[in-house]
């Protein structure tokens, strides 16, 4: 606990020595973003995040819309006094948990690995440019 750390002034650790200042070189980012790994990361993320977002927003708003406009249908009792409205609301919790874990799995197995590769390449590219 040396207590010397300042707000964001610390030298980054485990980042192949890249600091924000060094990265401010012209067209550096356009260049790394054109690389296939970054493109692949973009595509992988879009393939997962866009459909998931559309899905969860649709699934979620089905609840207030159905409950609001079709209260009697949603009030149909299914198990004892438990109705569709309650079960559908409950299912939202499991939907959210399942989607969150799917994202976690995808991110750990695909996104993080690609990100690590991209960071390594960016460091290399920077070293070449600096040389």
């Amino acid at each position: 606990m040396a207590g010397v750390a300042g707000g964001g002034k610390t030298q980054p650790k485990g980042d192949k020595g890249i600091s924000p200042k060094e990265l401010d070189k012209e067209h550096f980012y356009e260049e790394v973003e054109k690389r296939p790994e970054f493109q692949e990361l973009q595509k992988a993320k879009a393939r997962f995040i866009i459909p998931s977002t559309i899905f969860f927003i649709t699934y979620y708003f089905a609840l207030p819309i159905l409950v609001g406009y079709f209260p009697d249908m949603m009030d149909t009792r299914v198990i004892g006094q438990i109705n569709i409205a309650y079960l559908f609301a409950l299912s939202q919790f499991f939907m959210a948990w399942i989607l969150a874990f799917m994202y976690l799995k995808k991110a750990t197995s695909v996104f993080d690995k690609l990100t690590a590769k991209i960071r390594e390449q960016a460091a290399k590219l920077l070293a070449e440019k600096g040389a």
Binding site: G8, Y60, M74
Partner: protein
């Protein structure tokens, strides 16, 4: 709000008393002592700005997940949702669902880019590629507004809670919360705040699990029985004890004003049903009570007042006998002469044409009066402010005598039921209670040899509805026993509905002796579905714009840990929110809707839906558990308030002071001093505001904070991350447009100062203000010139937000 004046009102259902709860005090003090210890420890670690604002970014993902859950499960979640489910049923669960699903927006779109780009505040991300000063100023304003709304809601909840437990005055309670919270923030910074959140989240989860188990135990762990019972919730209770073999009971109810948007168009269409009476602890409404049909016809339910007298009746009186408390009832305003057909009487209620009319000096031998009169018409007399102070009444026949000013005159109140000699309790018609210590007269009262009793005084009164039953009760019931026409709390629409199918108390059509009493409806009129959708929008998009939640992601080392913390938070928050249904339905069925409230130090009971979980703990968990749950609720509020204060002070010190006033010339020591001073100012302002609005509803206020966050912050976060063309004008326009439209709509809604007459009739402005935020941001961007720097820096920002290159690192200690 239903108010009653008897301290003993909850005596047999709960241990709530007029005395401060010492066990709860002990729990409070130990929680504060432990967290103060943490604050001392944390203050030694606060060396830099990153330590103070972001706990040195050394918090682990799982720890931050618990802290996020702690920051999120506020008074609105624990007290508010249980309260809405407990008083309105299913619709309260909609809050639970929205508040969990909202984390998918945080997880999939916001959390990781935010951690990769930001330093201490939301404005760091928003101003990344735009002009610093205008964007930071607008973002700081938005942060302060959202946190302010949120904070007031928490303070109001804390005030009620301490009021309940320690019987302190509301302002004292709010001040104590404010001061303790300031100590955490000013000395402990984000590190102490984080650990306070973690401890509180664990306590809250344990308390909620225990309470859920206790609720289910009441139903022998048969959830089906809980849900069955929830379909037969009585919203009212007995306002007077009912003895075996009587066929009349008095239940409480409020009589809505005509200004209420829920005022029914045709109250006479409400039909009678079964009255369910019982303490609700049984598996069905009948097991510890019974179900009896209400006598059909207009006299089945009438407004009445149960009056306790200071001495017993000397003889029997039959139903219909005149029974009045003249000091409170209407009197002649000017003297009336024999042969007059028009008289002027006092009173705030204009009598109806067709009602019978009484005039005379009441009870005494030789009393003179008339009771055979009828009202032909009555015209209100109003003062300069438009308040009704009396009526000019035209009668069907002339008076037979002269009457002096102040002679009792008006629609007579009568005994609703026979009263036996020796009894000290009478039930009279009418919806207006005489004041305590008022003189009370009973008897037929008219003419020479008037047959009655005087010299009695009123001890106490309970206003309610007298319900006639078609057969007598089979056993005795204590005051406050749940009783009423059952409401189905599993059915959607208890709060947000368009048909208003279920009335809490049915309407009472006017009869010749009683004024018309409308049904007491559930809240919400005509906009059920739109209200739900608007609320849903605010809930699921608001979380991703809440500054005090978002800055928690700056306390972890990197984006991967930020992601983990969202997952942890979702597991904890989701589990907690599912349990809110057990707390809410438990409160509705086991305590009864009308018993959810606070007994204050004067013994007065006031209904307060925020107290559902706490009063439930009192009834089914015993005194120590009640004290534990109440102090957990208190800890909950304290922790959230601390989180909000540090958010607001960071926004001011980092965005306004450092980046605007000092143009980015960093001086850490100075900045930390500014942050601490800001915390004091923010604390003082919110304490003052909370003291000024003690009646505010905590869940509604928090939902409004979500609407403001979703309208002003979220559009700008999304657009700056994903739209290259986005400009400074777009960011400022989006922030201010969303902020002004949401706050503006709140002000012109019935939550605002205009009340029920307000032009905007949706409870939550989200459905209009969130699109407004997006539209303002997009239109302002397209109308402004493209910003070269913004577009050049976009590539850099995008790369960094996706990969975490150059992100702020954990500080090394």
């Amino acid at each position: 709000m239903v108010e009653s004046t008897l301290g003993a009102i909850l005596a047999q259902t709960a241990s709530q008393s007029k005395e401060p709860n010492m066990t709860a005090l002990a729990f409070f003090v130990s929680f504060v002592a432990i967290t103060m210890g943490i604050t001392v420890w944390a203050s030694r670690r606060n060396r830099s700005a990153a330590d103070f604002y972001a706990a040195g970014r050394r918090i682990k993902g799982w720890q931050n997940g618990i802290a996020v859950a702690g920051d999120y499960m506020s008074a609105a979640s624990f007290l508010g949702i249980a309260g809405i489910i407990g008083t309105a049923g299913y619709d309260g669960f909609m809050y639970s669902v929205g508040w969990l699903v909202a984390y998918l927006t945080v997880l999939l779109i916001v959390a990781e880019p935010l951690r990769n780009l930001g330093k201490y505040t939301l404005a760091d991300v928003l101003a990344y590629r735009l002009k610093q000063k205008p964007v930071r100023a607008a973002a700081a304003l938005s942060t302060l507004t959202v946190s302010g709304f949120y904070m007031i809601a928490q303070m109001v909840g804390a005030g009620s809670l301490i009021n309940l437990l320690l019987k302190l005055e509301y302002w004292q309670a709010v001040t104590i919360v404010g001061v303790v919270m300031l100590v955490y923030v000013v000395f402990g910074g984000m590190t102490a705040t984080t650990w306070v959140q973690i401890i509180k989240a664990i306590l809250l989860i344990l308390g909620t699990i225990a309470l859920t188990i206790l609720v289910l135990a009441q139903f022998n762990f048969d959830m089906g029985r809980l849900f069955t019972e929830a379909t037969q919730v009585r919203k009212t209770k007995l306002v007077a004890a009912a003895a075996k073999d009587t066929n009349v009971v008095m239940i409480n109810a409020t009589i809505p004003s005509k200004k209420d948007p829920n005022f029914p168009d045709d109250p006479s269409k409400v039909t009678w049903g079964m009255l369910y009476i019982g303490d609700g602890t049984g598996a069905t409404a009948g097991s510890n009570g019974e179900q009896i049909s209400i006598t059909t016809g207009p006299t089945g339910v009438v407004p009445g007042v149960n009056i306790t007298l200071d001495q017993p009746l000397a003889k029997d009186f039959t139903k219909g006998a005149l029974a009045v408390a003249p000091s409170d009832l209407t009197k002649l305003v000017t003297e009336a002469k024999a042969s007059d057909t028009t008289v002027v009487v006092s009173g705030t209620v204009v009598p109806k044409a067709g009602s019978s009319f009484y005039i005379g000096n009441g009870i005494s031998d030789g009393a003179i009066g008339q009771s055979d009169l009828k009202i032909v018409s009555a015209v209100a007399i109003k003062d300069d402010k438009g308040v009704v102070t009396g009526s000019t009444v035209t009668l069907d026949k002339p008076l037979t005598n002269d009457y002096a000013k102040d002679t009792i005159a008006g629609v007579p109140t009568k005994l609703l039921f026979d009263a036996k000699a020796g009894s000290t309790i009478v039930k009279i018609s009418g919806a207006v209670a005489p004041k305590s210590k008022a003189d009370f007269y009973i008897g037929d009262g008219i003419g020479d040899g008037a047959n009655g009793q005087k010299g009695i005084k009123v001890v106490s009164t309970d206003v309610g509805f007298a319900v006639s039953l078609d057969k007598p009760l089979s056993r005795d019931y204590a005051k406050s026993t749940m009783a009423g026409i059952p409401n189905d709390f599993m059915k959607p629409g208890g709060r947000y509905n368009s048909t208003n199918a279920v009335a809490a108390v049915p309407a009472v059509p006017a009869t010749k002796d009683t004024p018309e009493v409308p049904a007491v409806p559930a809240k919400g009129k005509g906009w059920g579905a739109l209200d739900l959708i608007s609320l849903g929008l605010a809930l699921i998009f608001g979380t991703a714009g809440l500054p005090h939640i978002l800055i928690r992601f700056f306390t972890v080392p990197d984006a991967v840990e930020a992601r983990k913390s969202v997952i942890w938070a979702m597991v904890i928050i989701g589990g907690f929110y599912i349990m809110t249904t057990f707390l809410g339905y438990g409160a509705a069925t086991l305590i009864g809707v009308a018993n959810i409230g606070i007994v204050d130090s004067t013994g007065k009971f006031t209904t307060n839906s925020n107290m559902a979980a706490v009063v439930l703990a009192d009834k089914i968990g015993g005194e120590v558990f009640f004290a534990f749950v109440a102090s957990v609720a208190f800890a909950t509020i304290l922790a959230v308030v601390a989180g909000l204060t540090i958010t607001a002070s960071t926004a001011f010190a980092h965005d306004v002071w450092l980046n605007i006033v000092k143009s980015g010339h960093e001086d850490e020591k100075e900045q930390l001093i500014v942050a601490r001073i800001t915390a004091f100012v923010v604390g003082a302002i919110s304490i003052t505001l909370a003291i000024l609005m003690p009646g505010a509803n905590t869940a509604a206020l928090v939902a409004l904070a979500f609407a403001v966050a979703a309208s002003s912050n979220l559009p700008v976060i999304v657009l700056t991350l994903f739209w290259k063309r986005f400009t400074t004008a777009g960011a400022v326009g989006g922030l201010l447009g969303g902020l002004l439209s949401s706050v503006g709509l709140i002000l012109i809604s019935y939550n605002g100062p205009m009340g029920y007459d307000a032009p905007f009739q949706l409870e939550n402005p989200g459905i209009i203000s969130i699109p407004m935020g997006f539209i303002c941001a997009a239109v302002c961007t397209l109308l402004s010139k493209p910003e070269a720097t913004s577009e050049v820096k976009y590539a850099e920002m995008y790369f960094r937000s996706e990969t975490g290159v150059g992100a702020e690192k954990a500080s090394v200690h």
